[in-house]
Subunit: 282 residues, 2 copies
């Protein structure tokens, strides 16, 4: 298996050769995490079925010493099952439904808004041969002409930001979604940011977003796998007057985000909800 420590990965790229699919980005990180060298097979959105000998319409796909494996989650599971002595991507099966849940949430809350805001770039930066396919499929998926989808995008980008608070709350308590070290749960979410970074003609996160620390550490992993010069800046979004606060200044003060270790630990929340400066019994 994995002859010469190499695994082949079918990529989904823009015209400049950078990976754009979040699912492929997740597997690039997964293969690096497992310590493999990667042979990237280049290509864009059209011709995947031909390129893969009729095996799949979607990417990623890997070939490990002749064995084809499809689907970003199934590939991650295959890598852990086949190479249990290498660092685990999914250290325990109890992680999978939860990581998928967070991933599904992040797609519907973040990715879905961002990708439409970058819809024109999505086509403009793709291979020429993909332009018609992208226009046809994405205008059906997203319900409008790509040029129209980006109109007023600044407002929608601003509205996404407070909705990312659940992720900020968790990363205020934990260095990584994987705990002390990153795992496939981190790579799933990070990969959405990398997709946006492959397309962004406008940054999607503010300079001071508390997520920035985690994102930057993620981009640095594996000798800077996410530091490709073909990627565009993610940080620098400027909310306008009337936009919602992009994140909770000072972090969450109560609810499921905070641990109760006694009255001192809840004094701030108590003051906030009672309007009395000193902690009051409840």
């Amino acid at each position: 298996m994995a002859k010469g420590n190499r695994i082949t990965l079918y990529d989904l790229q823009l015209a400049n050769g950078i990976t754009t699919s979040p699912f492929v980005w997740g597997i690039r990180y997964a293969l690096a995490h497992k310590g493999f060298d990667v042979d990237l097979v280049p290509g864009g959105f059209t011709g995947i079925l031909d390129r893969t000998g009729g095996r799949t319409e979607r990417l990623p796909a890997i070939v490990d010493d002749g064995k084809w494996v499809l689907d970003s989650w199934l590939i991650a599971e295959y890598l852990d099952e086949t190479y249990p002595d290498r660092p685990a991507l999914i250290p325990h099966a109890c992680m999978t439904p939860l990581a998928k849940g967070l991933d599904n949430w992040f797609f519907s809350t973040g990715a879905r808004v961002w990708i439409k805001a970058l819809a024109v770039q999505y086509r403009a930066r793709a291979h020429e041969a993909d332009h018609e396919y992208i226009t046809q499929t994405r205008e059906r998926m997203w319900g409008g002409k790509l040029e129209d989808l980006i109109i007023g995008r600044e407002k929608r980008l601003a509205e996404v930001l407070p909705q990312l608070q659940p992720l900020r709350n968790v990363l205020a308590e934990s260095a990584w979604l994987g705990g002390d070290s990153p795992n496939y749960a981190d790579y799933r979410i990070l990969s959405v940011f990398l997709t946006m970074s492959s397309l962004a003609d406008i940054p999607i996160l503010t300079d001071d977003d508390p997520l920035r620390d985690w994102v930057e550490r993620g981009l640095d992993l594996f000798d800077g796998l996410g530091r490709d010069p073909r990627l565009s800046p993610l940080f620098g979004f400027k909310p306008q007057p009337g936009d919602p606060e992009p994140f909770l200044k000072g972090g969450a003060i109560g609810g499921p985000a905070k641990r109760n270790t006694g009255p001192q630990s809840t004094a701030e929340e108590t003051a906030h909800i009672t309007g009395k400066p000193a902690p009051a019994p409840r």
Copy 2:
């Protein structure tokens, strides 16, 4: 430890004695999961600090053979650490940040809207002695008079439903958030539904919500811990014309929710995005 297999749990109850706090519900399930008998200490929102000898302003708190443990997450971790031979609530540490992430998302997306829609019941069903505290603190927290917060609630309840799709997508692939059997991740989300069930004068989920199967199985656990007759129906919400579709009929057809096992598995999505009935190469 756990003399006579019993652990004391300080409850947060309504006037009829039913548990209302989601954090306490989570620990009721956690203690049942670990196989303990529970001595519930009754009580409402006010007087927690006195009731617990100055130890805490918030519940749950447990006392295990004289040892006090606070905070719903810390109690779950304590139970697993102290009783490793009993069924694990958190089978692996990699679960914790993700379960907290999903929990934080569910609080901000579901619980926050539902609790305001039930704000009048929240006070009406509470102990008389709690009414003033609830009025003062919740009107500050929620930004309005309780009577005003419920006006037009049907519309807001309808708008929550499509946002629960990430949870539906995961539970379409997995029997429980814990995988083949429930764990603390399930109890966290289920507990929010139990809180709403303690208060609901209007159901919050439609009869045909795909989440129903998981919710009903959760309420049945541990000899029907969630089947208390003091709880109100959760199902029966009726969307009105103009409300969004409450859930994806037929489930998600692509994106992170689906596994690619070859061209047949993606044919439906391809037909959908290309507008062509037969699977087309891309």
